[in-house]
């Protein structure tokens, strides 16, 4: 099965981070991704640029509208995403708990949905 780990972050949680802790977090995240990759569990992992650089697109009728900014202005925002393979939701949750960024972010774990098998 595949799961998405959605990392929601609040900028305030990083306000007091020391350069050492910052470097350690960076190294831990990199090691973790390499570890998942070695185990064949990593599909993709990406960090996102700030929501201030987002654009939101919608189409109604044949009219395309594009607005600057994210879909929703929120205190916590999506900062990164990891797609991984796990045997169960339980394992995916465990992997999320072990991630270094879980100390700073809230991690939503969502099963992927296979539209090919949709009814």
């Amino acid at each position: 099965m595949e799961f998405a780990l959605l990392f929601y972050i609040d900028d305030a949680d990083f306000a007091d981070i020391t350069p050492e802790a910052d470097r350690k977090l960076q190294d831990d995240c990199r090691d973790e991704d390499a570890d998942l990759e070695r185990q064949g569990k990593l599909v993709a992992a990406r960090a996102l640029r700030p929501t201030s650089e987002a654009v939101t697109v919608r189409i109604r009728g044949s009219k395309v509208s594009r607005t600057d900014g994210p879909f929703a202005e929120t205190k916590e925002h999506l900062g990164g995403i990891v797609i991984l393979r796990a045997d169960s939701m339980e394992e995916a949750i465990l992997l999320a708990e072990q991630s270094a960024l879980a100390k700073y972010a809230k991690v939503e774990v969502r099963p992927a949905y296979d539209i090919r098998s949709a009814p």
């Binding site: 959605l6 990083f14 981070i17 990199r30 960090a47 879909f71 949750i93 939503e108 949905y113």
Partner: protein
């Protein structure tokens, strides 16, 4: 270093390996030409070839599907899969995934070594993240055009976010 980029260190950078090679090649060319008297051509592949990555986040109200007939829903699924194939053929698709219902989500955090895991999504919202498409594009304008082609853009909203290029250690 911005706060967001700190948090953003999450990313695996499997493309960086290739990227490093390109960069290495560029510097090799630069050195080979050094002192040759030849004018250095603009052979920096980063200027010409480097594509950016964008994540198209697809938000919609889950109830839209209740208002659709089975035939309409089938068509939407088919169109969505075809669009992924179109992007794939153009070499622009990295990954596309639909997500299961937010009701099936769990949210995890660790504070002061204490793990808490709650059922449900990070936030209860009317519209939720229903899927995403990770694409390569040369700039934001092209990424926006890709987003406008996503069949679900007719029903929901697509947030396009540039990917943060994580610096190497």
């Amino acid at each position: 270093m911005s706060v967001v980029s700190q948090s953003s260190r999450r990313a695996a950078t499997r493309f960086d390996t290739a990227d490093e090679k390109i960069r290495g090649k560029y510097f090799f060319e630069l050195l080979s030409n050094w002192g040759s008297g030849e004018r250095l051509e603009a052979s920096d592949p980063h200027k010409q070839e480097k594509e950016m990555e964008f994540l198209c986040l697809v938000y919609f109200e889950p109830t839209i599907f209740d208002r659709m007939t089975p035939a309409e829903k089938k068509k939407l699924d088919k169109d969505s899969m075809s669009y992924d194939e179109v992007l794939d053929k153009k070499g622009q698709l990295i990954a596309a995934r639909a997500l299961d219902s937010a009701a099936k989500a769990a949210t995890v955090q660790v504070r002061a070594s204490k793990v808490s895991s709650t059922d449900g999504p990070f936030a209860e919202t009317k519209e939720h993240l229903g899927g995403f498409i990770l694409v390569k594009a040369k700039d934001m304008a092209e990424a926006k055009a890709i987003a406008a082609g996503i069949p679900l853009a007719k029903y929901g909203k697509i947030e396009v976010r540039p990917i943060y290029d994580v610096p190497e250690a």
